[in-house]
Symmetry: C2
Subunit: 364 residues, 2 copies
């Protein structure tokens, strides 16, 4: 069967960087082959550069972004622990649910969808629950297009509570400063701003998060995502077999990270900022109104209310079938009323913006 | 960096089918795109053909084979359940550990490594524990090269105990009859006889396994692997978003399954049987002795004791560096003393056998 070559401007996957696509076809290597170990080591080093961290335990988990989320919670939480979670969208809600399944008591700090969480409320919650094992928050909410202000959570470094950050839609799109912000554990996904097909979840853990993992009373409830076991494969000289790494996907991630670092992380951030601004300025002229709170609008993921009288399904169908352009529909309470337009990774180009605006101009 | 083009004759990954490699580079599609949904539907249909089942819940899990194992246990077990597990190698041991982490009481039925489990012992254990939720066994033990005789476990259909089968190294290599043998849940991996890069784990669940999942008292401890949620994405008309499927890997699996079904499953099994027999006959002439019990030797994975005085590490290093051929070392108690030679998927060719024998002839 043949499939169509789309311009992917939804909430992810984005169109992968050409280097990432080419690398998928590299000759297969065994997961214990010294040449593959070297590719894995370089991938981990490149991930550290993109996460802006010195954390040794920085690696791609063999699953998509949600597997990375689960990796953080199953390794850092034990039954009965308290977890404070910021919830202002689908992915904050998902964190609450994953933490609950780890047996944690979840303290939800809610905010209206489309508005940013006040970091002071998370810090206050920690003060009210000083024994909380972690505070978790989504940096870039893919369901609402909101950037949560997370740098102030650095204050958690003065407590015994770990700071867990979802960077699925922010990493390699907008500034992420793992060490600078005092983040103890973070996860991402490859199919957004990293410009790689979906299938891997880069994660990073600070030394104090590693210490917490090593001092657990119980084993992690997941064997597949047990970082104590995975760490023995990705580091040291013995490289103990745990599970077979997704070789081709690691090749692809390795190549995309190379392309990103060659362009320069600052330049990549500027490119995302510029195309996002272009879109934010142009959409109101077509009758859309921006959904996310001003000052917290993500350039890489724009949410916008549809123009008065526009038919969501018909319009997205025409974009897809007549122009080969995918944009995302609204999730949850925004379904049918708002769109999510992604400009991520290799899709974050001026060409993408003018193509979308041209098609919308025709259709509206 | 450049890497080498290897002939992969270890325990997996194998060299992928050319169709599987080509499909990795297909233009990316969104996971909710009607064209991708069609690819997913066809992939599920093709998996049913290869698993020899009518099971509706047959799909690729977004992780490697061990994620498929965990999917079976986290969905079918609840804390306090009894699980009977056959253990005659690394992967039987792994099943025990995964079941334990689900809070199950594990009844281990052990057999010496290199020998096959007597299925009657598993049935007797079920008779002694009639409330056991499942009996789990590995069909093809990748650590020992042994095929366990699992067809008699069909008798479990007359009980309330489910039959769980690991087909990681058997599916699309030797006959697997999910419906014919009354298997309730099975998982596999793409990087062995399916001839796809590592990264997906095909699974299949019988109607009575689905019923068991639907009547759970507690939610599955894993959100990522929760089949109740995943099923809403892969079936029905609404296709509820759960997590982003690994699109390129699904393209690759779809293509390899097409190649396998075009060749014909019977022909694929015969090809694996013939090359395995060729290797089994030739190795003793080079001083190796076959490890696995006669009558239970897998054609797709041969274990053999090294010739007297041969240096495991030096020999494998020479094979890899001078000839570009990977074979696997022994696991656990076999480390340093035995090899694991895979002839799987696209690597299961007469050409692979003569290449390996030629190189060994030079080296020994």
């Amino acid at each position: 069967m043949t499939t169509t070559d789309r311009l992917l401007l939804g909430p992810g996957p984005s169109n992968p960087y050409p280097e990432a696509v080419a690398a998928l076809g590299r000759p297969m290597l065994g997961h214990m082959d010294p040449e593959f170990i070297l590719v894995m080591d370089q991938t981990m080093e490149r991930l550290r550069a993109v996460f802006r961290t010195e954390n040794e335990l920085t690696l791609p988990i063999s699953g998509t972004g949600s597997a990375g989320m689960e990796t953080c919670f199953v390794n850092l939480l034990e039954p009965g622990d308290t977890a404070i979670v910021g919830a202002n969208g689908v992915f904050g809600d998902r964190m609450c649910e994953v933490a609950r399944r780890c047996g944690a008591e979840v303290v939800r700090i809610e905010e209206e969808w489309g508005r940013a969480l006040d970091p002071q409320r998370l810090l206050d919650a920690q003060r009210a629950h000083p024994d909380a094992r972690l505070v978790a928050v989504v940096h870039a909410e893919t369901s609402t297009g909101v950037e949560n202000d997370v740098a102030p959570l650095r204050a958690l470094q003065g407590t015994d509570t770990l700071f867990v950050l979802d960077t699925v839609t922010s990493l390699a799109g907008i500034p992420v400063e793992i060490d600078g912000w005092g983040v103890d554990a973070a996860y991402s996904g490859t199919q957004k701003c990293l410009g790689v097909p979906p299938g891997l979840s880069p994660v990073t853990f600070s030394p104090r998060a590693v210490e917490r993992i090593q001092s657990r009373d119980t084993s992690a409830q997941s064997w597949y995502l047990d970082l104590g076991l995975i760490a023995s494969y990705v580091s040291g000289s013995s490289r103990v077999y745990h599970h077979t790494a997704p070789i081709s996907m690691v090749f692809s991630l390795h190549a995309a990270l190379g392309a990103i670092l060659d362009e320069g992380l600052d330049a990549v951030w500027r490119r995302h900022a510029a195309v996002g601004l272009h879109l934010h300025e142009a959409l109101p002229r077509l009758g859309f109104s921006l959904l996310a709170e001003e000052g917290h609008r993500l350039p890489e993921l724009t949410t916008a209310w549809l123009p008065e009288g526009a038919d969501d399904a018909a319009l997205r169908k025409a974009l897809l079938n007549d122009y080969g352009i995918e944009v995302g529909g609204g999730l949850g309470q925004f379904a049918g009323k708002a769109w999510r337009i992604g400009l991520m990774g290799h899709s974050a180009r001026e060409r993408s913006v003018v193509t979308l605006l041209g098609a919308l101009n025709d259709l509206l």
